[in-house]
């Protein structure tokens, strides 16, 4: 009807910020999951797993929405392919949280008391990584406002620079935690130990994917 309203494609940056927030909502449920595991409240774990699954689905929908808006017909201020890669990576973070929840759900595992603190410290470190990603990603609207360059872009870049270091710290914690897990050999059921290791790997993946997403965002900003 109106030429001018035809001209405007929806910008993907609004949904992109929404996606970041939804993914982070998933991440925030890791702590309650672990607490429920320690309480051996398996019903709560089921409930949380359902919630995560729902959030993950929501994030998926938003991801598709973002992709639809990356149609070839539109001029974009940033590389469409990089943007698509970013949202895919960020979506993986939610997938990995879902994996972790599923591991807790499929078997009523008991967490050995000596591991409690170390697991909490580990997820805390993962939050450092995902938190940095969230803080950077929610700036997408503002980044669009400054055409992805200038002072605001530098602020976001400096946020992202910390992400690698935090992930490295998470890796180190994972290694010590892994050692502690295997020290339980003989003392704890083997099947339990296998599940501890599975949990550890799933959690490590969350931080990994978050770091990857952060790296793509960095590339986008550096390119400009």
């Amino acid at each position: 009807m109106s030429l001018i309203s035809d001209l405007f494609g929806k910008s993907p940056f609004g949904p992109l910020v929404e996606h970041s927030k939804t993914v982070h909502e998933c991440v925030e449920l890791i702590q309650p999951l672990l607490e429920a595991l320690i309480r051996e409240d398996y019903e709560e774990i089921h409930f949380l797993q359902d919630k995560i699954s729902e959030l993950e689905y929501q994030a998926d929908c938003i991801k598709h929405e973002v992709r639809e808006q990356l149609s070839k017909r539109y001029f974009m201020p940033v590389d469409k392919i990089e943007l698509e890669r970013f949202v895919r990576r960020q979506d993986k973070v939610a997938d990995m949280v879902q994996d972790f929840a599923v591991i807790l759900m499929i078997r009523n595992t008991k967490l050995h008391p000596s591991l409690h603190d170390q697991f909490f410290a580990f997820i805390n470190q993962i939050f450092q990584v995902t938190g940095l990603l969230l803080n950077a990603a929610v700036e997408f609207q503002n980044l669009a406002e400054v055409s992805f360059s200038g002072a605001e872009a530098r602020v976001v870049l400096s946020l992202l620079q910390g992400i690698g270091e935090e992930e490295w710290k998470a890796d180190r914690l994972a290694r010590t935690l892994s050692k502690s897990i295997y020290k339980l050999e003989g003392e704890e059921e083997t099947l339990n130990i296998i599940f501890y290791e599975k949990m550890l790997l799933a959690l490590g993946n969350i931080a990994n994917q978050a770091e990857n997403a952060g790296d793509i965002l960095r590339t986008i900003l550096v390119q400009q």
């Binding site: 001018i4 309203s5 405007f8 001029f75 201020p77 940033v78 055409s147 002072a151 605001e152």
Partner: protein, 438 residues
């Protein structure tokens, strides 16, 4: 009897103006409504005021180009076997047919949803009349190609200018370490440019047309005057902005950017009004140009090279545009206002200033360009400057398509209507002209 004819043609002019108001006006306020600076209702009211004053104050310049530039009426009179009254009659019927076919075509295309320009419709229709009435050679193809070239040039020029303006705003304000502080310094520069474009466009030709015969009001003086006004606006805006942004430079950059956009909000309202003003100035001629020709020929019985546009005709055009806006255009405004989600005031200002400048310059050069297409060009320019989340390139194809279709369609329609008019009305109108000429 001639009163009946004039009334009939005036109603046609009104119908054409109604079409302009119904289709085009909403686009001119797009940046202000799109960036949520004003509500849709406010936009309708502001657009009405600006269109009307643009039409009445600056409106008369394109008028005779459309009528005379494309088809030379003296050629009609010099044709063999045609007397002067015959030629005058043909001109009356032809202009009426052109007006009617352009209005029909517009109505049809807005019904089918095609983005057709009012300017292009009337140009096509007048050319169609010329071809059928006096042959292929009667159309001034030099002028015609100039006009068609301006259709290409105006969106490109709008785009270039918007690109440069937006890069300026980006580089000197938004991308700075302290956008709030930078805005205090450089936002007044933007205000200066806007005020200069607007006052130059209005004073240079427009007001001089209304306030005639002031010997001291030379072009140079007009230039000095408008630059002075622009400077005054810049200084006032500087004082206001400094007050509004005081102490904001210590906030995080993202917060500062919000405040800076707020500074641009009133500016985008004014600049959108400027577009509406320029639109009124440019497009009113599409409806009243042919009408003025008909009225002149009927009341004097002669064909002259130049015809002044009476004030009442401009008023009629302005009124028609406002009625079109009030009865139908507000719906288009609603579409525009709710569909555009991603334009912020800083972008809107750059697009508006560029579009206004290009349209006013073209109006002065007597080149009838499409305001909407110029604005589209300007917005695309901002997209190219990486200022917009997503701009649909496919629109350019649509515009191109509408160019290719509109001119022939309006021309053919005008030819048919002209032949029909000749067949049924020739003798009646000729008798009126003979009576008035005698």
């Amino acid at each position: 009897m001639d009163i009946i004819i004039i009334t009939a043609v005036a109603l046609l002019g009104l119908y054409m103006a109604w079409n302009i108001g119904a289709n085009d006006v909403a686009n001119s306020m797009a940046d202000a409504v799109g960036s949520k600076a004003i509500s849709i209702k406010q936009a309708v009211i502001l657009a009405g005021i600006c269109e009307f004053s643009g039409a009445v104050l600056v409106g008369s310049h394109v008028t005779d180009t459309v009528r005379k530039g494309i088809v030379d009426p003296s050629l009609l009179a010099s044709m063999p076997n045609i007397t002067a009254p015959d030629a005058a009659t043909m001109l009356v019927i032809g202009m009426t047919a052109a007006l009617l076919s352009a209005a029909f075509w517009l109505h049809f295309s807005s019904w089918t949803g095609m983005p057709v320009s009012t300017t292009h419709s009337i140009v096509g229709a007048v050319a169609g009349f010329g071809i059928v009435a006096a042959g292929w050679e009667s159309v001034n193809w030099g002028k015609m190609s100039q006009i068609v070239a301006s259709w290409f040039i105006s969106p490109v020029a709008g785009g270039l200018m918007a690109y440069v303006l937006f890069r300026f705003i980006s580089k000197y304000i938004l991308e700075r370490d302290k956008p709030a502080r930078a805005a205090i310094k450089f936002a007044p520069v933007v205000v200066f440019m806007m005020a200069a474009v607007l006052t130059l466009g209005t004073i240079y030709k427009g007001l001089k047309h209304v306030i005639k015969d002031i010997p001291w009001f030379t072009d140079d003086l007009a230039l000095v005057l408008s630059l002075t006004i622009a400077l005054a606006c810049a200084i006032v805006s500087h004082i206001i902005i400094r007050k509004k942004l005081a102490g904001k430079e210590e906030l995080p950059i993202s917060k500062q950017l919000n405040y800076v956009e707020q500074i641009f909000t009133p500016i985008v309202i004014i600049s959108s009004c400027a577009v509406a003003f320029a639109h009124g100035a440019n497009d009113v001629a599409n409806s009243v140009g042919p009408l003025a020709a008909v009225v002149h020929v009927i009341s004097t019985g002669t064909i002259e090279m130049k015809v002044g546009v009476p004030f009442w005709i401009l008023m009629l055009g302005g009124t028609g545009i406002v009625i079109g806006l009030a009865t139908y255009g507000y719906r288009v405004m609603h579409t525009v206002g709710t569909d555009i989600t991603e334009i912020t005031p800083s972008r809107g200002v750059a697009a508006d200033i560029a579009a206004t400048a290009v349209v006013l310059i073209c109006t002065r050069m007597k080149l009838p360009v499409s305001t909407t297409h110029t604005l589209v060009g300007a917005i695309l320019g901002i997209g190219l400057a990486r200022g917009l989340g997503g701009v649909n390139r496919a629109v350019t194809k649509k515009i191109f398509g509408s160019w290719i279709i509109t001119v022939p369609a309006a021309a053919i329609l005008a030819m048919i209507l002209y032949q029909a008019g000749n067949f049924f009305l020739f003798d009646i109108i000729k008798s009126i002209i003979l009576a008035n000429g005698a």
